[in-house]
Amino acid sequence: MNNFYIKATADSPEVNFDFDNHILHIAGEAYPENAVKFFYPIITNLNNYLQATSEREIAVNFHLIYFNSASTKMLHSIFGLLNKNAQSNMNHIVVNWHHDEEDDTVLEFCMELKEDFHWLEFITIGTISAH
């Protein structure tokens, strides 16, 4: 399967889906002018991968520090897709939720997802930044 990579820009995140090794990484910020358009190829590729994958350990490494409301909706869709797949294809999906120790905003979204998606395992990793 082809891996999927998008370079980060000022208003969109770096996306690195290493499908061969079942590691899905997203980092940076998400407030593109058109969130649906930006996330469309990401969701399509992810969907293709998930449909072809079963009984695997999949790691999602989440490193976003900012996402606007439109992107939040798209992220919610992505986790919904993962959740459904964890159930239907018996994949064990672990979401490593990286956030700054003091960043309650990013953490709060993780708590919401936890509430909504029971088939995913969320691990919050608070980092103390060097600044």
Binding site: N68, K73, M74, E102, D104
Partner: protein, 426 residues
């Protein structure tokens, strides 16, 4: 939908400015030579026309090449070159693949083609022909750059003027709310700061004989599309509040939800998958998934009571003399969005109002703004801490302190979203 052909002919506003400028508007009638001319002849032409940057070579009226002055003179002044080449045909020093453009071609197409020639045309210029390919004259790179900059500036000016006027309209829609706030609140501040002159944040206040209704609204998006949404919401809200439901904000939210969903055609089924399926299947089509996050509040002056219903928007309050801030937590669904069911119900929360109590509302623009030494969101905790530090002061002063803290935190970071902040003392 417009046919592409028709679209090209449509000359409205911005496209009109572009249409006025075609390649032909850069045309300079300058001398040309034919392959029968010698390099000696070319030398004479360049001598006679010191401003001539290039010289076209044509054969039976059609351009076949372009001689650049500097390359030509550089070549000819080398030892023995003059003796060798002076009597030979001028094609020896010409560029056989110059950029040749018909006069009717748009400046935009011209500049795209020019960009592909790796900057050659900035020095050499380009040949302009009539629509049968016959030589007319030359255009210079300098003129092209000039006209592109002018068009860009002109388009920017039009867009900026139009946004500026849009902001006047949006502000005038807020005026009635501002007047009602002035008459029902003695000590308050209302800070509305769209990121791009106009925006998706909005506030609404309506005075009644037994109290007032207040809403802080954050519509999808920012800028012009955000502003469109606020006007839609404002007109719906105006209609809804004529009924008795002002005392029941949760019901008002449900009514808004129905109205927005049916007006924008966002009434499809809405289990979580729908949104994905829709996006995956038809990205090309322009589906809308718009709505608002908001807090609806009914302040009953009769009963000294607040009824609040929140769609992803918290309400903060501080009781005088207290050292902590309290939060009324919102329901987690926004209003009108595809993934909010048409019969979704929000919940009312009641709060007894006491004199001197401070109430604050904000959109996510403040709390989510990135800044500080760690480049992380401002956050709820920092927001509450700032409120606690200043809540004893008059609201106008609190506003200054809050904003100062916020701006300092943002520092050199870009503003991410529209920012709206309200504070009332009862």
């Amino acid at each position: 939908m417009l046919e592409p052909l028709l679209m090209n002919q449509s000359r409205a506003g911005i496209s009109e400015i572009e249409a006025q400028y075609i390649t032909g508007s850069l045309l300079k009638h300058v001398p040309f030579v034919t392959p029968k001319h010698t390099n000696e002849d070319v030398l004479t032409v360049f001598d006679e026309g010191p401003d001539l940057i290039s010289l076209a070579v044509t054969e039976q009226g059609k351009p076949v090449g372009l001689i650049n002055r500097n390359i030509f003179l550089g070549g000819m002044t080398k030892p023995y070159r003059r003796e060798l080449y002076a009597r030979k045909s001028c094609v020896a020093f010409m560029d056989k693949e110059p950029l040749i453009i018909e006069q009717g071609v748009s400046i935009q197409t011209l500049s795209l083609q020019a960009a592909e020639t790796s900057g050659k045309i900035l020095n050499d210029g380009f040949i302009i022909t009539d629509d049968t390919g016959n030589y007319l004259g030359l255009g210079t790179g300098q003129d092209l750059v000039k006209v592109i900059s002018y068009l860009q500036a002109e388009k920017n000016r039009l867009v900026m003027e139009s946004i500026h006027y849009a902001s006047i309209i949006q502000k005038s829609f807020l005026r009635a709310s501002k007047e009602d706030m002035d008459s029902v609140l003695k000590d308050y501040f209302m800070h509305w700061e769209p990121r791009d002159k106009v925006g998706g944040d909005y506030y609404f206040c309506r005075k009644f004989e037994d109290g007032f209704f207040f809403a802080l609204i954050d519509c999808t998006g920012h800028g012009v599309p955000g502003a469109f949404m606020t006007l839609i919401m404002a007109s719906f809200l105006d209609h809804i509040l004529t009924a008795d439901n002002r005392k029941n904000p949760a019901l008002a939210l449900s009514m808004m939800n129905r109205k927005v969903k049916s007006a924008l055609g966002q009434t499809g089924q809405c289990d979580g998958d729908f949104h994905q399926a829709k996006t995956i299947e038809s990205p090309g089509e322009e589906h809308s998934d718009d709505g608002m996050d908001t807090a609806f509040c009914w302040f009953s002056t009769q009963n000294n009571q607040l009824v609040y219903a929140g769609a992803k928007t918290s309400l903060f309050y501080i009781i005088p003399g207290s050292h902590e801030a309290n939060v009324l937590e919102p329901d987690r669904k926004g209003v009108g969005y595809v993934d909010t069911a048409i019969d979704y119900t929000w919940t009312n929360k009641e709060l007894a109002l006491s004199p001197g109590m401070c109430i604050y509302l904000t959109t996510d623009g403040v709390i989510d703004q990135i800044g500080g030494p760690k480049h992380i969101a401002f956050g709820k905790k920092r927001f509450i801490d700032t409120l606690l530090e200043s809540h004893g002061k008059p609201m106008a002063e609190q506003k200054t302190l809050l904003l100062q803290g916020f701006y300092d935190y943002q520092g050199k970071q870009k503003r991410r979203d529209d920012v709206t902040l309200a504070g009332f003392r009862l």
